[in-house]
């Protein structure tokens, strides 16, 4: 059992699979965006090549920067999202599942933003500081509706474990259908978390160069990119588990191994679906301003989520009442 657990963490479906799938998702993301923009797009191994190239590049320390903290922040961010991934069901239930892992995962997925803010603040560059402040400001805007939307399935399923929520949907149907508003808010929140258009405000190229990323070089940049890549996998896996039933099939398949493979394929299919939605959103929109995001976030996203909360409570009341 211990050996299996080690294999689970390190090889499949743990870190090795996570990294490989991260590269694949990034490739698909770039390729789909490129094709929609009438471009050719990168070859299959381009994300890997980029990563290796960046690892080999010189690391430049801005004058007066705290090197230890500057090195640690990307590592911390990467470690956080990789840990978060372990709690997401990929082939059947996650072996680490416990009551409350949903809260832990949500917390861990917030850490990269904090790391970005730290990097921006530490690098003593105007563009980075402005970018860091923007990243945190944005966090306060999208985090509330995002959390609320993602906690709604837990409320309805009556469990705080992601795997159990996924299992609940096997019997009762997908939360994407039961809670469509929450699903949409979840996707928008994920896009904002990943700082992709229309929410790439902290790294707005034409305004503040690259925001917190401006002074990142070499392996720090590589690790930070990898973090975002892994977060794309973890985030889409989380949404897939919470709203699309994760790896579990709506019906029972008799041999266990077939069910496992089918579940894995379900996971791949669902995350790819989410990726296509996110990539299309990226292609179809421009960047909005931070004050406009504030308006949209609090006026529409937050109130839509509150509406969803109300509906869920009402549904629960009716269900329990009957």
């Amino acid at each position: 059992m211990d050996l299996l657990l080690v294999i689970y963490v390190l090889l499949f479906p743990g870190f090795l699979f996570l990294l490989a799938y991260g590269f694949l998702l990034q490739y698909l993301d770039r390729k789909i965006a490129a094709r929609m923009q009438a471009r050719v797009g990168p070859p299959l191994l381009q994300p890997v090549a980029d990563f290796i190239k960046m690892l080999g590049k010189e690391v430049i320390d801005p004058a007066g920067v705290d090197r230890a903290a500057f090195d640690a922040a990307p590592l911390m961010a990467l470690a956080a999202v990789m840990t978060a991934f372990l709690y997401i069901p990929i082939v059947g239930e996650s072996p680490f599942a416990f009551q409350g892992d949903l809260v832990l995962v949500l917390y861990l997925l917030t850490l990269p933003t904090i790391a970005l803010f730290l990097l921006g603040w530490l690098s003593r560059n105007v563009f980075s500081s402005v970018g860091g402040v923007r990243a945190v400001t944005m966090l306060f805007i999208y985090e509330v509706p995002f959390f609320l939307a993602l906690l709604m399935p837990a409320l309805m399923a009556g469990s705080w474990s992601i795997s159990e929520i996924a299992g609940w949907q096997q019997e009762h149907g997908w939360f994407a259908l039961l809670q469509p508003i929450g699903f949409v808010v979840g996707l928008i929140g994920l896009q904002a978390k990943l700082e992709r258009q229309p929410f790439d405000i902290p790294e707005a190229e034409t305004e503040i160069v690259a925001g917190p990323w401006t002074e990142l070089t070499g392996r720090r940049l590589a690790l930070m990119h990898l973090t975002m890549q892994v977060m794309l996998v973890a985030g889409s896996g989380l949404i897939a588990a919470l709203f699309l039933g994760g790896p579990l099939l709506p019906w029972n398949i008799s041999p266990a191994w077939l069910a496992t493979i089918a579940g894995f394929l379900m996971f791949l299919g669902k995350t790819l679906l989410i990726l296509v939605i996110l990539a299309s959103l990226k292609v179809a929109t421009g960047r909005i301003r931070i004050d406009q995001l504030n308006d949209i976030g609090w006026k529409y996203l937050a109130s839509a989520t509150i509406l969803q909360v109300g509906i869920v409570l009402l549904m629960d009341y009716i269900r329990v009442g009957t």
Binding site: M36, Q37, A38, R39, V126, F127, S129, V130, V133, Q197, P198, D200, I201, A204, E205, T206, E207, I208, V209, V283, A284, T285, G286, R287, I288, R289, I290, D291, Q292
Partner: protein, 393 residues
Amino acid sequence: MPEVVLPIGPQHPALKEPVNFKVIVDGETIVGLELDVSYTHRGIEKAAEQRDFIRVIPLLERVCGICSHAHAQAFCTGIEEIMHLEVPPRAQYLRTIVAELERMHSHILWLGVAAHVVGFNTLFMWTWRDRETTQDILEEMTGNRMNYGMNEVGGVRRDLKPGQISSILSRLPKLEEQIGKYVGMVRGEETMLLRFRGIGKLSKAEALKYGTVGPTARASGVDYDIRRDDPSIAYAEVPWKVVTDTSGDVYGRTLVRIGELQESLGIIRYCLEHLPEGKIGIPAPKVAPRGEILSRYEAPRGELVHFIRTNDTDRVERLDIRTPTLANWTSVTVSLVNQNIADIPVIVAAIDPCLSCTSRITILSERGRRTAEMTWAQLVDHGQRFYRKWGRS
């Protein structure tokens, strides 16, 4: 946050050319602004005084890559008027076709840049794809994609063959369809509307007060267009109308430019279909009589002015170029204050700034025969000395 000086430029991803704004921001709001456009001064006005009328035109085309025809055009029509030359109508029509193609490629380019500035890279890719059509037509007509070398004093240098006319006409419908799509996209794309509406607003009175020109002025309801007010080449004979808008913001400027794209398409089509027969140029004398002229032309970015003074020689005594970007800078510096940092690139891009036009360093030695160069070591040394001095003061 305390007040922070944000250096925008000289090298900055939003600016395609070197300009330096020292923007003083309080949080996300701009409270002050300083401007320096000195990074691309090339001394073209001085160099133009050293060259005869044949060799000066390629130089003037290189004032700006995008509106190269506009500069040559303004200069040629000015000199022709001083020389009292009657340019044949076919040459005028050919000039108009190139001028309008240039306007189209400039406006499509601008639309892409504006979309890129607000992070909407998709429209940027699409517009630049469709811009290739105009570039291909220009390449086929003139031989170059940029710096067409079409103008000379007394006419144009290349003629259009009948086969080329039909080939150009056959490519226009596709372009028209794409431009029609942009109208829908600009009006319908929510994030672009959010970033363009109400940004960089100039009322009609302000636009007049700060001397704005071109699409920037027309978007504020100022009904000035040199092509109609002071027509040169074939504009007086071609049916077309001036596009204006009343909103005065970046959105209005976008609509004006897209409207002008459609007008330009009509002008090109009319000119190609009604191309008069005849010669494409008349021989021009080498020497211009004494005289001065203010030659105005509506470049894609606005009113372009060449003030030319000649004095019985084969060179100009003085050539004073006022580019549209310079005229529009005043309004930019005014309208940036109290805006958001995120809107700097949008407002700056909305006037379609062309800095190589604005500040035109080649140092010419005696009589402009040979350009002096700095070796790399000299340059490094010069830079170090300068900044040491600068640091002390």
